[in-house]
């Protein structure tokens, strides 16, 4: 299922670099057999889909009952659409916050609740540094760790991501905050 070919990007494209690193970090964590939780992404998809549907309703209604009879429906649709856009912005700023992975570490015995791992990343525009933040929520405790690396440390001159170099970095970060309860 997973493509094992190394990721290659245009080395001057900062956005592609960040996305490639996000994808690699995601792969590293999911290789530990954690289950990905799509709740965060799905909520965003639902908000966006609703907005598009509202726009479609407006389009269709105006087509069937030409302006000005469609005025009330159009006002409703336009207001709803911009409210949804506002909601999406709030959601992105307060809920999503650069998080690109939420994964559940299932208890092998099945008695204890899942441990939730969260990965978030930031990269300042025109800056070569990539910052990865791992958060683990274990019952009521929450621990965070992060590192900042220059992209030059994990990409070679052709723009190929060196997963063998990057994965240990991610694992190191993961292991620094993993729960001490499990057998060492």
């Amino acid at each position: 299922m997973e493509e094992d070919k190394p990721i290659k990007i245009d080395k001057w494209d900062q956005n592609a670099a960040r996305i490639a690193l996000d994808d690699a970090a995601k792969k590293a964590i999911l290789e530990l057999d954690y289950v990905e939780n799509f709740h965060l992404i799905d909520t965003r998809l639902v908000i966006c889909t609703t907005a598009v549907l509202v726009a479609l309703v407006a389009l269709l209604w105006d087509f069937l009952y030409p302006f000005p009879e469609s005025r009330p429906v159009l006002i409703l649709c336009v207001v709803s659409y911009f409210l949804l856009m506002g909601l999406l912005t709030l959601y992105a700023n307060f809920c999503e916050k650069n998080i690109f992975l939420v994964a559940h570490q299932k208890d092998p015995v099945g008695t204890e609740p899942d441990i939730v791992w969260t990965l978030a990343s930031t990269m300042i525009r025109f800056d070569k540094n990539y910052t990865l933040t791992v958060t683990v929520k274990d019952n009521s405790e929450q621990r965070t760790a992060s590192f900042t690396k220059c992209v030059g440390e994990v990409f070679d001159e052709n723009g190929v991501l060196l997963f063998e170099k990057f994965q240990p970095m991610v694992m190191g970060l993961h292991n620094s905050i993993v729960s001490g309860k499990k057998a060492q």
């Binding site: 493509e3 245009d10 799509f38 992404i41 907005a51 105006d62 659409y81 911009f82």
Partner: protein, 176 residues
């Protein structure tokens, strides 16, 4: 190619998200247009001047902003945009004569500033006056030259499809 390897890494959700992104851009443009329609009261709040019949006031390619408030009466001397029954394209000309009844019903005659004769030749056979219902709106502001893009896209439809196609493709492929 690098672009396609990037795309192949997308899972189902991310593919849907790319498509949604594209749909949202179109929806936003649509909603802004409908919003303008509702706030100006005009079914076509922005029009492009297509002919030189209103020179030197408006030239071909100028973009006009219209409002169509029922409360504002049409007056002689104002520039109105109206549609003739059976014709899709609205006409941008000046009102030169106006008859008004006590109940507010108006009939007016239009003429392009740069034309020799009034518009009766353009009206529907048998129609001598333009009425309030034919009016799309009154010109309230304009931006010169910008509309040339629309004229070009209409004269060369292939250009329109090429530009829109490329923009669409770019949005679909570009992540975040």
């Amino acid at each position: 190619m690098d672009i396609f390897s990037d795309l192949r890494r997308l899972n189902k959700r991310q593919v849907y998200f790319q498509v949604l992104n594209f749909a949202m851009i179109i929806s936003s443009a649509l909603m802004i247009w409908k919003g303008l329609m509702v706030t100006t009261g005009s079914e076509s709040p922005i029009v492009v001047v297509l002919s030189g019949s209103m020179e030197p006031a408006f030239y071909r390619g100028d973009l006009l902003f219209l409002t169509n408030y029922r409360a504002d009466p049409v007056r002689a001397g104002e520039i109105v945009v109206f549609k003739i029954e059976g014709r899709e394209i609205p006409i941008v000309h000046r009102v030169i004569k106006l008859h008004e009844k006590a109940d507010g019903k108006v009939k007016f005659l239009t003429k392009g500033d740069n034309n020799e004769v009034d518009d009766r030749g353009l009206y529907k056979p048998g129609q001598l006056w333009v009425e309030r219902d034919h009016v799309v709106g009154r010109a309230r502001g304009f931006v010169p030259y910008v509309g040339i893009v629309t004229i070009l896209m209409n004269d060369y439809p292939k250009l329109k499809y090429a530009v829109l196609g490329l923009l669409g493709l770019f949005v679909l492929i570009h992540r975040e």
